[in-house]
Subunit: 146 residues, 2 copies
Amino acid sequence: MTISSRFAVAIHILSLLELNKDGVSTSEYISGSVNTNPVVIRRIMSMLSKAGLANVRPGVAGAKLARDISEITLLDVYRAVHVVEEDGLFSVHEKPNPECPVGRNIQTSIEPIFSAAQKAMEDTLAKVTLQDIVEDIGGKEANVCD
Amino acid sequence: MTISSRFAVAIHILSLLELNKDGVSTSEYISGSVNTNPVVIRRIMSMLSKAGLANVRPGVAGAKLARDISEITLLDVYRAVHVVEEDGLFSVHEKPNPECPVGRNIQTSIEPIFSAAQKAMEDTLAKVTLQDIVEDIGGKEANVCD
DNA sequence: GTTAGTGTAACTATCATTGTTACAATGGAT
DNA sequence: ATCCATTGTAACAATGATAGTTACACTAAC
């Protein structure tokens, strides 16, 4: 099991929007950098747009960041692309036997721990901004895709 | 996406082995508490056995814990059932365009962060032992499944 | 009006998960 | 030695998510 690459692609997209901020970032252009189908990009872009991270308009070529990259955390991106639901990282078997002490208590015993573990992961994402990524990626690279 | 319920079931199984330590915990018996098929239990038990957390023998009815529950962390269980590979919680798109500064750097920029986030989650699991679970579940419950 | 680009539905292929049946192998009970 | 409950595992089905693809309606810049 893995968390969908949608998340990584979304980070890629937003970083590219920043580094290509003076150019026109169409889904075609972005898909060339990500190396996938433009529709995949548009689907993710739609989620980013709904989450208020990027702006796109039908008919108008090119997406733009909706906020400064220093104000977008990886947690924002992660939530935007719906890769993991709230308290939904771990799944728990649904119908344990209520006749059994273990069966009738296991869910409530485990859930807070699973929840805390998920939160620890998400807190880590919250501490990183797109700016950190872009600095790491493009700080030394002068140009954008040819 | 969710982490397989194998993990939750494994915790359930091991907790049950503890609370039923004086009884005979066959896959049939356990499956009754988990409410699933005995084969599902045997499959998970096989992983727990390989990981040195439980002992089972072909032909001999009933599994037993291989260690004291205070010495088994949820991380041990999580690793045992292979729900997430090392550095494999997040997936990264595999072939970004090397011609593009973003494409050729995104993977190495993101990976350490993904790795740290995963580690934060796993560290949380490492801090909880089966004893914590069993105390929470069965501390007040006197009996085991009828 | 033409045209490039976005939005989205629909379909495919692939994969992991979970449950199921089936059966060989094991070892305790008799 | 035989019986038989149990374990170990292969094989298969059903389900659901993912990622890619084609197709096409809709939008707005020119």
